[in-house]
Each structure stands twice: as structure tokens, then as C-alpha cells.
């Protein structure tokens, strides 16, 4: 076993060697511009792009023509929200999303608010899921779009997208989902799930960084978008810019592998994740899982170790790459807004660790990580005045703390 161990696969994943191999010729030998219509270099590139397009479409039950390539999920989210808001401005000016969305959605919504769009940020329940009745109540005749993520990037919970899309449709609104964490990890089917627009990223599913896609439904209904970038009118006018041919080949290959291996991979991820969870919970008291285990990505575990601060925990397990919802690790000095939205309380948000398992993690690594985390949490609790007070039976919520 090699150190450090990478267990932060919600941040990014390594490129699968098979994906990398498929990409390599498109950098040097077959380097053509897919938009070059009058020579073989262009034709070869175009064929590669169309193959990639079909591979992406096949993974999510879509038609090739419904796939628009982008630079990644952030661009896809921007294009979906801004493109719909602009295109359907005459129909309405209201968008519904959730408080636990990725910043690529939340910040885009904030921008849209400045240009007169009304945005409703639905709260989530303590399990991390959107309450469908609250969604129903938030819908108005002016609602043009509901955008709810498929799987959360911090706590891995899977939103009830099929039910959400039904509610959106009943009121004539479109349904967009940021499916960045879900595509390639769990079955996503744009027909069954009633998705009108879906954002996809390659580097979260063992593909390269800098490439992604937006699924845009062509039938029932035919979704239209106002392009957000001007140029040569590539991608049916929705996204100008020379196509990233090697990236698209990589995304396509990553999708093909995911489709072929998903059933097995889900089982393996769930086994490893559950082993990690069970060992941590068996050895440590006052340890809480954030978000429902029932509807969750098989490779995600987000757990709070009460009375232990997240950054000090990361420091103790520094040969394990995971991420913390704690203040000090993030640039913003704020604890995770996702955990706060679950009502976890700032203290538990500061104590949280996100484990993101991936295709290349081994059982030996999981055993090592479990043992190491248990050891460091125990050591830090020996150091923790809060754990001591808890053991003395003091209710920490009743203590008068000195703010600083």
C-alpha cells in the first residue's frame, strides 16, 4: 500500500488509464479541428467527437443530439440557468433551487437575481433532502425552472429527482439537475427521471479536467437556450468555441466504462464505504453521519466526530487526502453551508470529514484509514475540553461561551 491515500473523489478523480490511452492520439496525431469540414484531419476529429457524444448520451438514456459539450459542470450550470432565464423571460422570471446546491448554481442564481430574476432557495430536511410539499408550495405561474442537484457533493444524498421533475412539469416549468456527482456513479436516466437539462463533468468520473456536457432535451418539451458566449455557433448555436477533442474523447470513454462497470462498481463502493462507516461507528462514540444513508451515493461518507475540530483531525491524518467542512480549511473561514442547512449546528459542522471513495481505492486502504482516523480522533478527544465537559455530563448548549 502506498501513502498518501487519495479518498477525496468528490473533489476530483484520477483519469482512468483506459481513458488516458483513448485520448492520447488526439493531442498529436489526429489533432484536427472538428469544425474543419474540408479535409481528413477535421473529419477524423469530428468522428471522434460524435463517438464521444454518443457515449455520453448512452450513459444517461439520451439522444446524441441532446448533448452539448462544455468546459465542465460550472459552465454547464451557468449555461442552463442563464440560458433558460434569458430564453424564457417572457414566460416568467422565477427559479427554484435548494440551499445545499453547489456554488456554481448558487452564485449563478445570485447573479440572476441582480438582473431581476426571483429565486427561491428551498431549505432541506435534516436528512439533506428537499421536501416535495415545500417545492409544490413554492411553485408559481411565473416559475420557469426548477434546478435541484442529483447528488450532493458534500453529503452524497440523492434528491428525489423523478418526483421533483413531475412537480415542475405539472406547473409548466423546466427541470434542470446538476448531475455532476451522480453521472457515472449511479444510474441516471433522463427519460425515467424526467430531466430537461443535466450538467455533467468528466473529471468526477475518471475523465480529464476541463471538459463536461449539458444535456438539453429536444422533445417533450424541446428546450431552448440563449447562448452565453458568442462565436462560431458551435454545438447547435448553444456553445461556441472550438471543441476540446481529446477531452471529449476522454469524457466519452469515461462514460462508456462507467456504463459497462457501474453495477459492479456500485456494489464494491458500497461495500468499502459501509466497512469504513461500521468500523468508525463501532469504535468511536458521539459520531454522527450527515445526511440520509438511505438515498446516497455508494462512495460517499460524511461524518462528524463531535468535540474534535476538523482541521486538527485532517492534520493528524495528513497522509490521507479527505476534506473537511470545517472553517479553517476553507478560504471563506465559514463552516460548511451544506451541513448548516441540515441544521447540524456549527460545532458539528466544524467536526466533519468527507470521505469520497473511488474506483482505485482498495480494501487495505479502507482498513488503514479506519484505524488511523480512530486513533487520531481518540487522541484529539483526550485534548478536547469539550469532550471532557461532555463526559462530566455538562450540556454544552447551556454553557455561556465567550465569543471572540
Amino acid at each position: 500500500m502506498k501513502l498518501p491515500i487519495y479518498m477525496d473523489n468528490h473533489a476530483t478523480t484520477p483519469v482512468d488509464p483506459r481513458v488516458f490511452q483513448a485520448m492520447t492520439p488526439y493531442f498529436t496525431d489526429t489533432f484536427g479541428n472538428a469544425a474543419s469540414r474540408n479535409h481528413s484531419f477535421g473529419w477524423v476529429a469530428e468522428d471522434a467527437v460524435e463517438k464521444g457524444r454518443k457515449q455520453v448520451a448512452d450513459l444517461i438514456g439520451a439522444n446524441s443530439k441532446e448533448i452539448v459539450f462544455t468546459s465542465g459542470a460550472t459552465e454547464s450550470n451557468n449555461l442552463a440557468l442563464k440560458g433558460v432565464a434569458e430564453m424564457y423571460a417572457e414566460k416568467g422570471n422565477h427559479i427554484i433551487t435548494a440551499a445545499t446546491e453547489h456554488k456554481a448554481i448558487l452564485d449563478t442564481c445570485k447573479r440572476l437575481e441582480k438582473s431581476g430574476i426571483k429565486v427561491t432557495y428551498l431549505p432541506v430536511e435534516t436528512n439533506g433532502l428537499v421536501d416535495l410539499d415545500k417545492l409544490r408550495a413554492a411553485m408559481t405561474d411565473k416559475t420557469i425552472l426548477v434546478s435541484i442537484m442529483y447528488a450532493n457533493n458534500e453529503i452524497g444524498v440523492l434528491q428525489p429527482v423523478a418526483e421533483i421533475s413531475k412537480i415542475a412539469k405539472e406547473r409548466g416549468a423546466l427541470f434542470h439537475t446538476d448531475a455532476t456527482q451522480a453521472v457515472g456513479k449511479v444510474p441516471v436516466d433522463v427519460i425515467k427521471d424526467g430531466i430537461d437539462l443535466a450538467s455533467i463533468s468528466a473529471h468526477k468520473m475518471y475523465g480529464p479536467k476541463g471538459v463536461g456536457a449539458l444535456y438539453v432535451r429536444r422533445r417533450n418539451p424541446r428546450v431552448q437556450l440563449t447562448a452565453q458566449m458568442d462565436g462560431g455557433g458551435h454545438e447547435r448555436g448553444m456553445r461556441s468555441g472550438t471543441l476540446n477533442v481529446p477531452g471529449i474523447v476522454g469524457l466519452g470513454e469515461a462514460c462508456a466504462i462507467a456504463k459497462a462497470e457501474m453495477a459492479e462498481e456500485i456494489k464494491r463502493m458500497a461495500y468499502l464505504r459501509d466497512k469504513l462507516k461500521d468500523r468508525l461507528l463501532a469504535s468511536l462514540d458521539e459520531t454522527y453521519i450527515n445526511g440520509t444513508m438511505e438515498h446516497r451515493l455508494p462512495n460517499n461518507l460524511n461524518i462528524s466526530f463531535a468535540y474534535v475540530e476538523g482541521e486538527s483531525l485532517l492534520m493528524g491524518i495528513n497522509e490521507i487526502a479527505v476534506s473537511s467542512g470545517s472553517a479553517c480549511t476553507s478560504a471563506t473561514l465559514e463552516p460548511s453551508y451544506v451541513l448548516k442547512a441540515l441544521g447540524a449546528g456549527d460545532d458539528l459542522a466544524h467536526s466533519s470529514i468527507r470521505f469520497g471513495l473511488g474506483r482505485f481505492n482498495t480494501e487495505e486502504e479502507v482498513d488503514y484509514v479506519a484505524a488511523k482516523v480512530i486513533d487520531v480522533v481518540q487522541k484529539l478527544r483526550e485534548l478536547s475540553p469539550l469532550y471532557e465537559m461532555h463526559k462530566e455530563g455538562i450540556d454544552l448548549t447551556k454553557v455561556q461561551w465567550t465569543a471572540h
Binding site: 468535540y307 474534535v308 475540530e309 476538523g310 482541521e311 486538527s312 492534520m315 493528524g316 470545517s326 472553517a327 479553517c328 473561514l333 463552516p335 449546528g345 456549527d346 460545532d347 466544524h350 483526550e382 485534548l383 478536547s384 475540553p385 469539550l386 469532550y387 471532557e388 454544552l396 461561551w401 465567550t402 465569543a403 471572540h404
Partner: protein
Amino acid sequence: MAYSDKVLDHYNNPRNVGSFDKKDPNVGTGMVGAPECGDVMKLQVKVNPATGIIEDAKFKTFGCGSAIASSSLATEWLRGKTVDEALAIKNTDIVNELSLPPVKIHCSVLAEDAIKAAIDDYKKKSENVESQTKAHA
């Protein structure tokens, strides 16, 4: 973020971890910070009432590595100092000794606050003891 060697050393081998009996009249306890802010420090001093010298100091800290190191270092510095010398310890001394980056200066401020709170607590207790002794006399 890279930690300085001294922060790592205190984190890996924290000095003087533990607790004294809060009710001991010679013990001063300072507890500063708040769980929702991500750091809480408990710092205790045990003072020899005859000499006014801090004979022992202990800490427990919930917080990042820099907060743990700041309080661990504080206990080292407190031992052997008089109460008044202890009050002269400044957060900037801790920043310099541990090479704390700007985002971690609040950890050193917290440690200074903890020292002051512990000494305050000790002083209040000893004043009470004195006044009680006088009342009995």
C-alpha cells in the same frame, strides 16, 4: 496549508495536557472561545500562594493545529513565571515563536485571552480567600 515545524511538534507532542481541580483555591481556570467558532481553549494555572509563582500549567484545546500549538506553548511559558510576568505574554510572542500565518493569528489571540482569563480567575479566588480569612479573624 503548510505548518511550521514548531506547530507540528506541539501538535504531535502536546505539552502539559490535562486538568486541575477547578475548585482548588490555588488554581486559576480560563476557558475562552466557542464551539461554533471552531475553537475552545481551557488553560489552567496552579500558583504557589506564598511566592506568587506559577508552578504548573495545563491545557485542553478544541481547535485547529495552530490553536493546539498556541495553548501548548503557553503552558510551557507559564511555568515558573510570576502571575504578573504571565500577564505580560503577548499574542505576538506566540505568533513569532510558532511562525503562525496571518489566518492563524486568532489562535494566538485566543491563547493570550486564555492566559488572562486563568490569571483573573486565580486572582478573584485568592481575593475571596483573603476576605474570608479576614472575616474569620
